[in-house]
């Protein structure tokens, strides 16, 4: 499998706190990768660096042979509008816009005309089973519906890579299951690569592979395959 995204020796500090202490990882195209670890271990920071939201203090981020950590703010912003899709735990929908307008926003930012953007938005809302709330505002719909609208917005530009940071963190288990189910199904259908940050093992269960972060470093023993002998007790 070809690697589509790589991080090499990523270091990032916030003031005196070192969130990442040299993280190296590779994401293969089309796979769903879970990044797990206890809270405060730097998972979100890693996602922000890989998605081009933040510039790391040291190290490289390579997306399809481009060093995106050297790109300008504007270029990285454009990347996040088009080839990357981003999904947060909450607070990413514009409260004053309707659900349909929220989903149409990235298309409009890329120059699509309002009418076409709206049509595309409606079709995505249907795919995610939330077409009935298209004219409502985020404050008027449930958390699970909000996250599905946010997912639609992340996927509307048909990104190559979807970054999800605790997408079900504020949802109950059934609503979360719905969101993740849609996410995985749609990602597989479009062969979208997914980087999924979570501290919840049941969410990590949806991924093909898992990387464990501890205190800003990759914990190698947490890889998908067990090390050493795995004799099952009788």
């Amino acid at each position: 499998m070809t690697p589509i995204l790589q991080g090499r020796g990523l270091v990032k500090s916030y003031g005196p706190t070192r969130a990442l202490r040299g993280v190296t990882l590779t994401v293969a195209e089309g796979e769903i990768l879970a990044v797990t670890g206890p809270s405060g271990c730097g998972k979100s920071t890693l996602l922000h660096c890989l998605a081009g939201i933040l510039r790391p203090d040291a190290g490289e981020v390579v997306y399809r042979d481009h060093r995106i950590d050297t790109w300008s703010q504007a270029r990285r912003s454009q990347l996040r509008r088009g080839e990357f899709g981003i999904l947060f735990q909450y607070g990413q929908l514009v409260a004053e816009l309707t659900a349909a307008e929220n989903v149409a926003l990235p298309l409009m930012l890329n120059g699509t005309r309002r009418r076409e953007a709206r049509t595309a938005a409606m079709s995505w809302l249907e795919r995610l089973d939330v077409a009935d709330v298209a004219a409502r505002r985020p404050g008027e719909i449930s958390g699970g519906q909000q996250q599905r609208v946010a997912l639609a917005r992340a996927l509307v530009t048909e990104p190559r890579v979807l970054f999800a940071d605790e997408p079900t963190g504020s949802l109950d288990s059934l609503a979360g299951e719905q969101v993740l189910g849609h996410l995985v199904r749609l990602a597989r259908a479009q062969q979208t690569t997914v980087v999924l940050v979570t501290h919840d093992a049941t969410v990590a269960g949806y991924a093909d592979r898992e990387i464990v972060l501890r205190d800003g470093e990759v914990d190698p023993t947490g890889l998908g395959l067990a090390r050493g002998r795995t004799v099952v007790a009788r």
């Binding site: 979100s44 922000h48 947060f88 514009v94 409260a95 816009l97 307008e101 409009m108 930012l109 309002r114």
Partner: protein
């Protein structure tokens, strides 16, 4: 609660709270200055002694008026500017200075809301620690009161300094400003103690709708959509002004003297109604602007702005209030200027015709008094606009700061900061432009309702020969000359455009400065939850 504890709690806070306290103090200082200036002008004791009159270029003694102090006719010749000399104008000046308090109050009100959510959360936590609701409100009120006290003290210090620094008597001992006068002691005490008390009381009043429960803060919001009823207020104001001439004529025709209160009520009340109508109508304008913008918006920036306007139209009304009031006054002043110009031109024409007919030399009159007075009004309007612009800036920055998490998330998902900046621009300008136009129209309309044309005329008899004794009744050397001039009062488009441009520029500059905060407030560190 012990006072020391109250003080400690009131002053605990972060940078935003400090800014709020400083702005409150600043507004209090400005209000103090304006009130003291007004009181000083009102307290002027006119002196009409001979030396001053001579210095003013007048005859040493006016007929029948002894040169003593205070001069019974009220003329204060110890000052150089006519606005301070004439007893008919001084109250107007005092009133104008006092009215400058209005935009300052608007600034104070806007500053009080800066960082209010965080402050309210802090107070809710204090309640969680065991304070009673009254104690929680007391903390907030104490903060405002103390800030206002500091500002008032600063304002009084500035006033005292100004009295010393601006005391510049010219060669003949006349002063440009009333730096030799002090308002009576009770006025000083009233301002010094009253302003902080007023600030504290209004803080308490503003908080009465807020319930500081230990679980958080519950603020009851108005969710009524704005209606165009304020339009009626505007029409009433215009009608009041338009009624002045007919009412005056009616009194003249009936022979009864017009009571002294009729004119002030019609003019003052009409002006107030029209201005309040414009201010209240801004909410409806905001929402209408939002709806129109939503329909025609093609860019995401405009769409965002449209939705935001529709979501909270009342905010626009509060924020633009002071500015629009200043614009109405400015438009009215432009109308007054046009009226005076027409009046003066008409009188000059009559004078010229008389001079031509009688063979006299024509001497043009002096309008400098009126024009300089109107210049002062324009200056006051500009100052008010600047202060209103400050209030707008505070509102803008507060909006950015309170939304920073949402904005940061948007930027992270790829929305360029440029789009957010443009949406703020749309959000401010879309309602501002029609509102300013409305204010200009209203200000002009009330003046047009008052007077649309001027008349001047004279009837005189003069001798065609030098020997006046030959100009008796029926003499061929006695000529009669009568002239009647009617001139229309022009609509002062140029000045109106100027007022509108200044107001728009104030909004634009405010938006520009406010957006400098956008980068800082959309930093990704706002997204951290760990």
């Amino acid at each position: 609660m012990r006072p020391a504890a109250l003080l400690r709690l009131a002053l605990a806070g972060n940078r935003t709270d400090t800014v709020r306290i400083l702005l409150t103090a600043f507004a209090a200082a400005l209000a103090t200055l304006s009130m003291l200036a007004a009181a000083t002008v009102y307290a002027i004791r006119p002196r009409g002694d001979a030396a001053l009159r001579e210095a003013a270029g007048l005859a040493p003694t006016k007929e029948g008026v002894p040169g003593v102090e205070p001069a019974p006719d009220g003329y204060a010749y110890q000052y150089t500017h006519n606005l301070l000399v004439e007893p008919g104008l001084r109250p107007g000046v005092a009133l104008g200075l006092l009215l400058l308090c209005i935009p300052v109050l608007a600034l104070a009100g806007q500053s009080a809301r800066l960082g209010a959510p965080a402050r309210d959360r802090r107070l809710a936590q204090i309640r969680l620690a065991g304070a009673t609701p009254r104690q929680a409100v007391a903390v907030a009120v104490a903060e405002t009161g103390l800030a206002a006290l500091a500002g008032t003290a600063a304002g009084m210090a500035a006033y005292a300094a100004g009295r010393v620094l601006l005391h510049r008597p010219d060669a003949s001992g006349r002063l440009p400003l009333p730096t030799d006068t002090l308002p009576p002691l009770w006025t000083l005490l009233a301002v010094g103690a009253g302003l902080p008390l007023l600030a504290a009381l209004s803080a308490a009043l503003l908080l009465r709708r807020v319930a500081f429960t230990p679980f958080g803060v519950a603020r009851r919001h108005r969710t009524r959509p704005p209606r165009p009823w304020p339009g009626l207020l505007i029409l009433a104001g215009i009608a009041a002004f338009a009624a002045v001439q007919p009412v005056v004529r009616a009194y003249a025709w009936s022979g009864r003297p017009m009571p002294g209160w009729v004119l002030p009520v019609l003019l003052g009340g009409g002006g107030a109604l029209a201005t309040i109508g414009v201010v209240l109508g801004t909410a409806w304008i905001s929402q209408a602007a939002g709806r129109v913008l939503h329909r025609v918006a093609r860019s995401p920036a405009a769409l965002l702005a449209a939705r935001r306007l529709m979501a909270d139209p009342w905010a626009g009304g509060r924020v633009f209030a002071a500015m629009l009031a200043a614009v109405v006054v400015g438009a009215g002043a432009a109308g007054v200027r046009a009226w005076f110009t027409a009046e003066f031109d008409a009188r000059e024409e009559v004078s010229r015709a008389n001079a031509r007919a009688a063979g006299w030399e024509y001497v043009p009159g002096d309008t400098s008094f009126y024009t300089s007075s109107l210049d002062l009004v324009d200056a006051a309007v500009t100052v008010a606009l600047v202060i209103a612009g400050l209030g707008l800036l505070v509102y803008l920055v507060e909006g950015l700061v309170s939304r920073r998490r949402a904005y940061a998330a948007l930027v992270a998902t790829g929305v360029p900061r440029r789009t957010l900046a443009r949406s703020v621009g749309w959000q401010m300008l879309a309602p501002a432009v029609p509102a300013i136009v409305l204010a200009l129209v209203v200000g002009t309309a009330i003046m047009r309702g008052l007077v649309r044309e001027v008349r001047a005329g004279s009837w005189m008899q003069f001798c065609t020969v030098d020997d006046e004794s030959r100009c008796g009744e029926g003499s061929p050397f006695l000529r009669t000359f009568e002239i009647d001039v009617v001139r229309p009062v022009e609509v002062p488009y140029a000045e109106l455009a100027q007022v509108g441009a200044v107001a728009l520029a104030a909004v634009a500059v405010t938006v520009g400065v406010g957006l400098l905060f956008l980068r800082a407030s959309t930093d990704v560190t706002e997204l951290r939850t760990e």
